[in-house]
Symmetry: C2
Subunit: 383 residues, 2 copies
């Protein structure tokens, strides 16, 4: 494997944009990434696009050449990757693997989702397609219900409290308020977070990530090609069963644990080396579990860990300095590449008001469904 | 690039199967491929699944780990590829590239679609998502309408006749009748083909491929690992604009031409070396154009070429000995890998009643939408 680097990033704001269509969002992010990398579209040798449910949300499929053509990229492989909420994480994994193996030199990875044109019950139904629709779906278990069960079990097994989950929301809203591209730029208090409108017991509206429109893109290339780059030190994608009832233990995501293990091994690093992370907080409990599965906290101690302030902007290991899925927003297919952009910004020292001081190694973790797909990326060596 | 081979194939019958769900079809094909390759599921290092519109047809997304888990494949990358009707061709391209580059040794590529549970108007709407829905879709142009325009232009520009298109249908039905796994196992006469029910002028029902359920899978590995294998000599995926009105000439598919050129170059071969081919006959005119774009006939002479009998089972270069999308059936996401299985069967000499004599080099061509994605694969050196 050659050393591979992110040489350009591009994002749109995340939010509800009734006047924007899916393609215009993806094209904006792609153009920003090309500009940032100082690369012409004609030099892109392959295009990887993560998108979860364009056909269901906006009726458009075959999205990779659809977006690539509008960016001026034709005549090369243009492929859509779907892995639920880890769609663009998966696209990124495949792109990095291909460049690392020498198949291409310069490629673009994009991620996009346009969700807010559908009414909420329809959004919930489309999202439920990321779980086992024959079992969980037929039982009426939408994703808040599934993560509600996960949260309840974590509380029972480890003594995790609603305060600990609320601490995730308070922290991520505080960070999102500092991110000009975040969907929800407002701080919330612990009091508010604890008294949110119930969604699926024990989760309230403050435990759930946002339904957003948005796109993100990166350009990757061999490290030696790059003037300004952040190196990919380790990366892995793994899979597990879709249905919660197929898993031995629902308080851990085996796919995340394994992807973390592989990515750490590839990087020659361990949890202690990670300075900051973007973790997949589709629900507050998911961030707590991710801190455990990736070794930042011991099993069962992810709750006390967030409550200690360790993952705050000025803590020992800031988590979701972007605001996370909770406050930055969660346009499903854009989330994985969006996380990479956010880590790259921090490692470059370009994160503005939310810049953290200790920032040489960052980790991004992207989760699909209730843990059937996981992608973990470790980035560092900015120059 | 290491030499890569197909070491196992598995197919389901293609047809309308009201009692089968998507996963059971994909699992049947996958198990058949594992058995054929004599490989245990635990040895599969990555799973690539082509599927066009599972979420729209059956409400299930996140399909790769969903199918992989049921096959006993977990803890490895499991990813869904979507590129319209070239979805599993694209999955196959990425898998071959990864194994060739040394990223994995043994991987599985599957393709699946379950279409017949939706009523015909809904199927047409879902399929229209592979074209430009903002332009073509809003104008009411479904795929038969788009290929009707392509056919009309080809007739105008080159003198192609309805008889020439009908000859494709008659040939492919004759082949399908010999294929025990084909959706439509009946021969048709030229008379019947010329008097079919109109669909989109000049195309009749006999010019259009079938709406089918079905799945296919292959196991690929480095050539040196294989006892019984068919080598992949050349492969390429390319892209073009979605909308017909973005193309300079709608009587040729630039993406197919380019993919063919790249695949020939990689194989060190030319059109004259190809003994037989599976071409993407979503409509009869598409097979005619493919014979031109791949150099079997000169531009504009694909019609006379099929009429000459050259592409019949006992012709100089048999095309769609499986029955093609026209008679074998077209479960969209399964088609690309299904074509690979069919070529491998011929090269192994296992094609039964439809076995062709001269069979050392075969080509498969998989088309997405009205030409925005193309994958061309050249296979040979069976042992």
């Amino acid at each position: 494997m050659r050393a591979v680097a992110v040489i350009g990033i591009g994002k749109t704001a995340f939010g509800a944009f009734p006047d924007r269509d899916l393609r215009s969002l993806a094209v904006e992010a792609g153009r920003n990434a090309l500009q940032d990398a100082e690369v012409e579209p004609g030099r892109i040798e392959a295009f990887y696009l993560g998108n979860f449910a364009g056909p269901s949300f906006v009726g458009q499929n075959h999205l990779a050449p659809y977006v690539a053509g509008a960016l001026g990229i034709t005549g090369v492989p243009a492929t859509r990757f779907e892995a639920a909420c880890a769609s663009s994480g998966s696209a990124f994994f495949h792109a990095v693997s291909a460049v690392g193996a020498g198949l291409y030199d310069i490629v673009m990875v994009g991620g996009v989702e346009k969700m807010t044109s559908q009414p909420t019950p329809k959004v919930a139904e489309i999202l439920a397609g990321a779980g086992d629709t024959n079992g969980e779906g037929k039982a009426g278990a939408t994703f808040p219900a599934l993560f509600g069960m996960i949260a309840r079990r974590h509380m029972y097994q480890y003594g995790t409290t609603r305060e600990m989950m609320a601490a995730v929301a308070v922290k991520n809203h505080a960070n999102g308020a500092k991110n000009p591209l975040a969907h929800m730029r407002k701080t919330i208090t612990m009091e508010q977070a604890l008294n949110g409108k119930p969604v699926a017991d024990p989760l309230t509206v403050y435990d759930c990530s946002l339904v957003s429109d948005g796109a993100a893109a990166v350009i990757i290339a061999p490290l030696e090609f790059a003037k300004r780059a952040v190196r990919i030190l380790g990366i892995a994608q793994t899979s597990d069963y879709l249905a919660l009832d197929s898993k031995a233990d629902i308080t851990t995501f085996e796919a995340v644990r394994k992807a973390g293990e592989k990515a750490y091994k590839m990087a020659g690093l361990g949890a202690a080396d990670i300075d900051l992370a973007e973790l997949h907080d589709c629900f507050t409990i998911a961030e707590i579990i991710a801190t455990e599965d990736l070794g930042f906290a011991k099993k069962g101690e992810g709750g006390p860990y967030v409550l200690s302030g360790a993952t705050c902007l000025n803590g020992e290991r800031p988590v979701n300095t972007s605001g996370g899925l909770k406050a930055k927003g969660h346009p499903v297919g854009a989330t994985g590449v969006g996380q990479i952009c956010d880590i790259v910004q921090q490692l470059r020292g370009d994160a503005g008001e939310r810049q953290v001081r200790k920032n040489s190694i960052g980790l991004a973790q992207n989760l699909g469904g209730s843990g059937a797909t996981a992608v973990v990326t470790i980035l560092g060596e900015a120059r």
